[in-house]
């Protein structure tokens, strides 16, 4: 363990450079720059509210907060895993040339998306304040969800990065899987109806849905539902161990495939 920490310290500067690069290049050449990380979720919230709120006859005033909280977490998960998946190939020029521990590439992909995600949480704060969702003591639960989703994304990202090197199809397949995950996360609908039906397991076994619900309970001032916390945390740790083991086992042969 100490070896890994020493190693990380040695490459700390490189990691921070890679994270900086991800953030800088994402919004380079756009006039509003990093503001887009807040503007984009805001605009898509408006669209989703019009479609699933107004057009479906949902009159709940706090519905936009509900949508936005789900969407922000989902978007982070989607962007982080996609960045990790592509990280080995998009850095192939470097990998072929200089020896650098390869785990830094997916890690930096997840971290830079996490930073953008944390910035975009500001929007959630503003929208909540405007629509009268007041912070309560339960807001202190929010870090639980924020930590779980970071571990979950990192674990999935490491796993995807490993198989993505060997099979390019994964990139296309993953976008389809992400769509499926999006629809089973109850981002823009209330899950109550589904939970009562025989299809409840679709939601309950989706760790991202559980994490989103934990986060929402923090925002709307309810205690979090313990089974969700246990399941999501266990799943995240499990997938991270799996991802790390796969990555470690296969990383020496990456160079032969990129």
């Amino acid at each position: 363990m100490k070896k890994y920490i020493d190693n990380l310290r040695q490459y700390q500067f490189l990691l921070s450079e890679l994270v900086k690069k991800g953030i800088k290049l994402k919004y380079r050449r756009s006039y509003l720059g990093i503001l887009w990380s807040m503007l984009e979720p805001l605009l898509s919230m408006v669209v989703l509210t019009i479609v699933f709120g107004t057009l479906y006859g949902n009159t709940d005033k706090t519905f936009p907060v509900y949508i936005l909280s789900g969407r922000l977490l989902y978007t982070f998960y989607s962007n982080a895993t996609k960045a990790a998946l592509k990280s080995i190939r998009s850095n192939s020029a470097m990998i072929k040339k200089v020896y650098v521990p390869k785990y830094l590439y997916p890690l930096s992909g997840v971290i830079y998306n996490y930073i953008i995600f944390l910035i975009s949480l500001l929007v959630l704060g503003i929208v909540s304040a405007v629509l009268g969702v007041k912070p309560t003591i339960y807001l202190l639960q929010a870090p639980v969800a924020l930590i779980i989703i970071l571990i979950l994304s990192y674990g999935c990202g490491m796993f995807l990065a490993t198989i993505g090197v060997f099979f390019r199809d994964i990139e296309y397949l993953w976008t389809v899987v992400l769509m499926l995950i999006m629809y089973t996360c109850a981002i823009f609908y209330y899950p109550s109806k589904l939970l009562k039906s025989g299809w409840a397991w679709i939601l309950k076994f989706n760790p991202l849905y559980c994490t989103i619900q934990i986060f929402r309970s923090a925002i709307f001032g309810e205690p979090m539902y313990a089974p969700y916390v246990i399941y999501a945390a266990a799943f995240s740790v499990g997938i991270t161990i799996l991802g790390l083991v796969c990555f470690k086992k296969k990383q020496d042969s990456f160079i032969l495939y990129i």
Binding site: L14, K21, Y99, F167, D169, I170, Y257
Partner: protein
């Protein structure tokens, strides 16, 4: 006997070249079922053993495909050898395909920091050497321009300037003394020569026997992945000219 700088112990490197490229899931599944994937084994290096002493400048000679670049990549750690291992004593700076690792959207300045970080420099070190790098590359006016707008010569110049700003213990050179225009080539050769004086250990790949003779005190010949001769420059270069002269 001086102290060893690099010890290469019985290193072999195997590549599996599948006859057809299989990198899609569909291909893989179908061909595994039909047992159609065939691999051609190819040993790029076979049982290579040698020791480079501190301060030695070793030229690596061999025809195309002899395994020269593979050997350098194994030593620099990019390839993990299939068998055997490599022991290194001191910081290695590889000068391979200069500028290939730049990010095209990044400006020259940003790339200096990124590339420096890749080579393992600290932020403080790059801060202190930044002016020196810019001056050596002669790209003062282009530091805020994205590297995608650089010419290939400009990229190599910047890459060379960043990589050589440290005083490495071990320097790996793969055909890099052909960078940029004649003036810069002269300058880069002088820079390398000045590093030689400070007692750096060098591994040098070149197809120019004359250049190897001028820069190196030892040499080795690789043929089809095997080390067939290693020793002082004069007898080895004679043997090599006989080999290629027929």
């Amino acid at each position: 006997m001086g102290k060893p700088a690099i010890e290469v112990d019985n290193v072999s490197m195997k590549f599996s070249l599948s006859r057809e490229k299989v990198d899609s899931l569909k291909d893989y599944i179908f061909k595994t079922i039909k047992r159609e994937i065939q691999y051609n084994e190819f040993w790029a290096l076979k049982n290579v053993t040698f020791t480079v002493e501190k301060g030695d400048r070793v030229g690596i000679l061999g025809l195309n495909g002899a395994g020269k670049s593979t050997l350098l990549k194994v030593i620099s750690g990019v390839f993990k050898p299939t068998e055997g291992h490599v022991e290194k004593h001191g910081k290695i700076v590889p000068l391979l395909e200069l500028g290939a690792g730049f990010d095209p959207q990044y400006t020259g300045k940003e790339n200096i920091y990124l590339y420096g970080a890749m080579l393992g420099y600290t932020k403080k070190f790059i801060d202190s050497k930044y002016d020196e790098i810019v001056e050596f590359s002669e790209l003062q006016k282009f530091m805020d321009v994205p590297v995608k707008n650089y010419s290939s010569g400009m990229k190599s110049r910047l890459g060379f300037a960043i990589a050589t700003v440290v005083e490495p213990k071990i320097l790996i050179l793969d055909e890099v003394l052909s960078v940029g225009d004649a003036k810069f080539r002269k300058k880069s050769e002088n820079k390398i020569l000045s590093m030689f004086d400070s007692g750096v250990t060098v591994l040098f790949v070149s197809h120019s026997l004359e250049q190897v003779k001028r820069l190196c005190n030892k040499a080795m010949i690789l043929e089809k992945g095997k080390l067939i001769a290693y020793g002082d420059i004069d007898p080895i270069s004679e043997q090599y000219s006989e080999m290629i002269g027929g």
